[in-house]
Amino acid sequence: MLAVEGLACRRGGRLVFEAVSFALEAGDALVLSGANGTGKTSLLRLLAGFARPAQGSVTWLGREITLEPAEHAQRVHFLGFADGVEGLLSVRENLAYQAALLGGGADTLDTALATFDLVEFAARPARELSSGQRRRVALARLLAVPRPLWLLDEPGVALDRANRARLEAAIERQREEGGLVVVATHGDVRVRDPLVLELGEPNPC
């Protein structure tokens, strides 16, 4: 479904990575690893279509994503370092807004809140939450709006063990339903038989 061919990324004149190629089919997961600064986040942003690659191509079902940016945007869930949670809004308001913005309905909100154990905080303003709880609000939107491609940048940061398990279960469910997951992680989130791409190595897979 998602194929990457000879991808290179340049930031501020510096070549971050080059010749990155891989192909993912329905249900696959790709774990991006590598030291800081090897381009894990940059690669996720290229896959999301936020930036254009310096070289190479990203294709979805054989069509280049840069040729159909509007369609590609609706396939992608992107969870970055900044979680997009607004402190003045309650947990529920945050999730309802993000779901509506991404084109989802209101009927999935309760399940999403329950999955990440957020029901008891639902009415609290997000600024009163701890960073792990905020991260769970951001994760809940992955479940509130179904989308085939999840791009997760360090999703396990600040999560306790129970919630990391919930995240891992959500990732496996997404795969069972035929979705794709690309995770950049330093190993705190475990994914069942993933493909691994080690960035910053001379010979990527």
């Binding site: 936020f50 930036a51 945007a73 992107f78 900044a82 003045l88 807004y97 509506a100």
Partner: protein, 222 residues
């Protein structure tokens, strides 16, 4: 598609209600800055009456510029902008919704406060409706033009001051026609021409500014 834009508008208005104090600060700046003029140029009614409308318009323009950094900066830093890009609604439409919400919290409040300011500087009774009318027509254009500058500089971390300098030249036609319309109405003259020009500026800004702003935001994220 429209639902996403409505959701953004609702969220922004809810946030604006919760930080109503911040919006009042913009109006507070507007009022206090005007209150300085009698101290600076003397409190004689004919001096103030002559410059009053102009001063109010210039201050409204500055007040709009002052609020620009809140347009996209929080979303860019907080990760909200990425989510806007992933919405089924085009970014241009979301930008329009954001500008509308922002204007309701700044330009509209300024226009509503302007009659009070007109009394403060001894403007004739006609100013009580002429100023709000011209500000209602002019401030949305200022917000839309400002959104281009705010988006261009959002990624650079240079802040609001540079954005203000960048869009100030674009604002000058709005200021000239807005002020000439206000002064003509206050003097009891026909202001149709100037008002039509302001309407044309507003329509042009509505059509073009979201395109430029959305392009600048995409660039900022790229």
């Amino acid at each position: 598609m429209l639902r996403a834009a409505v959701a953004l508008l609702e969220r922004d208005l809810r946030l604006a209600r919760r930080r109503f104090g911040e919006n009042l600060l913009v109006v507070g700046f507007f009022t206090l800055a005007l209150a300085l003029f009698p101290l600076g140029v003397g409190a004689s009614p004919d001096v103030l009456g002559r410059i009053g409308a102009g001063v109010i318009w210039v201050l409204a323009l500055l007040a709009v510029l002052l609020g620009l950094d809140r347009l996209f900066q929080p979303d860019l830093e907080g990760g909200g902008l990425e989510q806007m890009l992933l919405s089924p609604a085009p970014l241009e439409l979301l930008v329009l919704a954001r500008c509308l919400a922002h204007w309701l919290g700044t330009g509209l409040l300024l226009a509503l406060a302007s009659p009070l300011l007109a009394i403060l500087v001894h403007l004739p009774a006609e100013a009580l409706w002429a100023l709000p009318l011209t500000l209602l027509l002019g401030t949305p254009t200022l917000t839309l033009l400002g959104s281009i500058g705010a988006a261009l500089l959002a990624g650079s971390g240079k802040g609001a001051l540079l954005a203000a300098l960048l869009v100030l030249p674009l604002d000058i036609p709005v200021l000239i026609f807005g002020l000439s319309a206000a002064e003509a109405l206050i003097a009891g003259l026909d202001a149709t021409g100037a008002l039509l020009f302001m309407g044309a500026f507003l329509l042009a800004a509505l059509a073009l500014a979201p395109l430029a702003t959305a392009a600048a935001l995409r660039l900022a994220l790229g």
